[in-house]
Amino acid sequence: MAANETTVKLDGVSKSFGEFTAVRDLSLDVRAGRVFGLLGPNGAGKTTTIRMIVNITAPDSGTILLFGRRIDASLQDRIGYLPEERGLYKKMRVADQLRFFAEIKNMRGKQVESKIDEWLARVKLSEWKNRRSMELSKGMQQKIQFITAVIHDPDLLILDEPFSGLDPVNVELLKEIVLDLKRAGKTIIFSTHQMEVAEKICDDICLLNRSQKVFEGSLREIKSSFGRNSVAVRCEGGNGVLDDPALVSKLVRHVDEAQVLLAPGADAQTLLKRLIDSGAVIGKFEMVEPSLNDIFITKVTEPA
């Protein structure tokens, strides 16, 4: 697991459907053994990008390299893909279903059976092995769908909104599995618009907006490049100060505290002094890293 090895490389990739351009001139590197977050609002081009990576559609221009090779049908077997649009054969039994998905990835023989048992145990669904999938709850079905993407032990796992609709316990369970797979040297592309989730598991991110890349890099770098210009404040009074556009560019009030994004040129010391001068009673004043959500919103609403 060489840290600098590239699993997926896109170079100047564009794709349009008729008039509509879904992806424009996109270049990115997904490094091996890392979790790569493909982030962006709905309609940004995430799904189209993924479909080109898994060879469902071909790009109009540009190249895509997988494991250093041009994508073709044989490479598909090394990818596990859990699309956002996903389902199961309703009347098929869980075990038959998983066997089918393993075989369709060219996995044969006894190892299929042992993998089925292993994975069902891991997501705590062993006793459902011989039930039809229509008898399963939605959350259970989602876990089975997750297994269909990983059962053939792929080197590259692509998850498109894998946690949507899951309860917190199961989100935690799947998140652990994803991190285990990363530790085992697998590369994971994780697409979502839920920034809180991405923040917790992604090493690198690429932010897409309106078919184009807004930025790409490691989560650490991005956060530090934004600097510490965010303050969490809990105070009584001092409203006039927090509303001053010379100091505060953005104010988000939560239940008991406020998230303050400092205006360019303003610093936290000045803000604190002004608050004290205004007679506000301060309960909390803490410099915080910007959340990915803040970065995301700032970047997306920034004029191009």
Binding site: F17, I56, R86
Partner: protein, 439 residues
């Protein structure tokens, strides 16, 4: 190829294991035999005979009518030696009559009428016929009936009186019995194939019958399994599995696999029915049907059976792929059902070609319709059993047909993929064409 087989295997096993398959396999023969048995039972229900009075003012017709209406058929049919089967069994008539003669000489007609009407009101009589004195010259009689809607009895009665009067006229013309029988003897028309040795005379007839059966089974199979193919193609769309699968298999592989899988299910079911029918035919009907029926089947040349099989498959697949094409364009089975209507129309039209082609199997028209893939299965089968065309024509027809199957499937898979990329949208025809071109 392995992935293709994986798809076929899943499709086949899931469908054969399904309760629907087992139930329909058992149920259909039961329903079919009910369709045959129930009408037979209903028709065999004995209705009370019609009580009929005959007022014969000519004085010569009564015995003839009696003969014509009773089970004893007039001599003409009894003497036809070929209808051995019919003469051994009592003739079953749908309308039976109890007839009586009313003496017409002593009473005035009005009096007789009044009497008979009286008896009809008293429900002693169901109707009466009046043959006026000038019956032989005018050819007119009257039938007074309590139930004028009983078309069936009226027809039987009319033809009986017809026969009776013809007989009586011949007798009046002093034609002796011998001559009368000679004159009414029905003819027998034997159809022989040109150039065939006389021993094989029943050849083309038997082939024709079997071909008709093959076409009919093909028609049934298309109607029954076309919808299932359509549903199978839509299945991955409705369950939203398509995208997962397309990261593993090509759309063409998936669709071919599904088509072949469903078709194997169809063949399995047909084979089960065929075997059951065969066993029934040999052990059950064999006891009832005369020897000649059974001995006629083996006279069909073996090659014809091969052609029957090939064109059956072609006919089935060419229409099944059209259903697949429809399936690739729509998002739900209901939509598909509506779009599938024109397919059935094409199918029916291709079956009507049966008549023009069998009349002139060698015409340019017959040649072209037996090459056109959608009419080829029926048209070519008709040509084979009537005037077998040169081998290259048969081979070419098969080649065109099966190539068309592949082209349609390829087209369908392209439309399917693009349709899937634009979620839940049904394709209009121009869109479908555009989708097939792009992607």
């Amino acid at each position: 190829m392995k992935k293709f087989l994986t798809v076929v295997k899943r499709e086949y096993i899931q469908r054969v294991r399904a309760k629907m398959f087992i139930v329909s396999t058992i149920l259909l023969p039961v329903v079919m035999s009910l369709f045959v048995l129930v009408p037979a039972i209903i028709l065999s229900i004995e209705t009370p005979p019609m009580r009929l009075a005959v007022v014969d003012q000519t004085g010569r017709m009564y015995s003839q009518i009696r003969q014509a209406l009773s089970g004893d058929q007039p001599e003409t049919e009894q003497n036809v030696n070929s209808s051995a089967l019919r003469s051994t069994r009592p003739r079953r008539s749908f309308s039976r009559f109890i007839i009586e003669e009313v003496n017409a000489t002593n009473q005035p007609l009005d009096q007789i009428r009044a009497n008979l009407d009286q008896r009809m009101r008293a429900r002693e009589l169901d109707g009466y016929v009046i043959l006026p004195p000038n019956f032989f010259s005018q050819g007119k009689a009257e039938f007074i009936n309590r139930n004028p809607g009983d078309m069936f009895s009226i027809q039987v009665l009319q033809s009986a009186i017809n026969r009776a009067s013809r007989e009586q006229r011949l007798i009046d013309a002093k034609v002796d019995t011998q001559t009368r029988q000679e004159l009414s003897k029905p003819i027998e028309l034997r159809s022989l194939k040109a150039g065939a040795p006389s021993g094989q005379q029943s050849n083309s007839n038997a082939s024709f019958t079997v071909m008709f059966g093959v076409s009919f089974v093909m028609y049934l199979a298309i109607l029954m399994y076309g919808q299932i193919v359509l549903g199978a193609i839509i299945e991955e769309k409705e369950t939203r599995i398509a995208e997962i699968l397309f990261s593993s298999v090509k759309p063409f592989t998936l669709m071919m696999g599904k088509l072949v899988g469903v078709s194997l299910v169809a063949l399995t079911q047909l084979a089960i029915w065929g075997t059951a029918f065969g066993v029934f035919a040999v052990y059950g009907v064999g006891l009832l049907v005369s020897e000649e029926m059974r001995s006629s089947i083996p006279t069909i040349p073996f090659l014809h059976f091969v052609y029957f099989g090939l064109f059956f498959l072609l006919g089935y697949f060419i229409y099944a792929t059209i259903y697949a094409l429809v399936g690739s364009m729509v998002t739900t089975a209901q939509e598909g059902g509506q779009l599938a209507m024109p397919i059935i129309l094409i199918l029916v039209v291709s079956f009507y070609l049966f008549w023009p082609v069998s009349r002139s199997p060698d015409s340019p028209f017959s040649f072209w319709v037996s090459m056109f893939p959608f009419s080829a299965p029926v048209a070519m089968l008709v040509r084979i059993v009537t005037q077998t065309p040169p081998f290259w024509q048969i081979a070419l027809s098969l080649l065109i047909g099966f190539s068309t199957v592949f082209v349609i499937m390829w087209l369908a898979s392209r439309i399917y993929r693009v349709g899937m990329l634009m979620y839940g949208k049904r394709a209009s025809i121009p869109e479908a064409i555009r989708w097939a071109r792009q992607a």
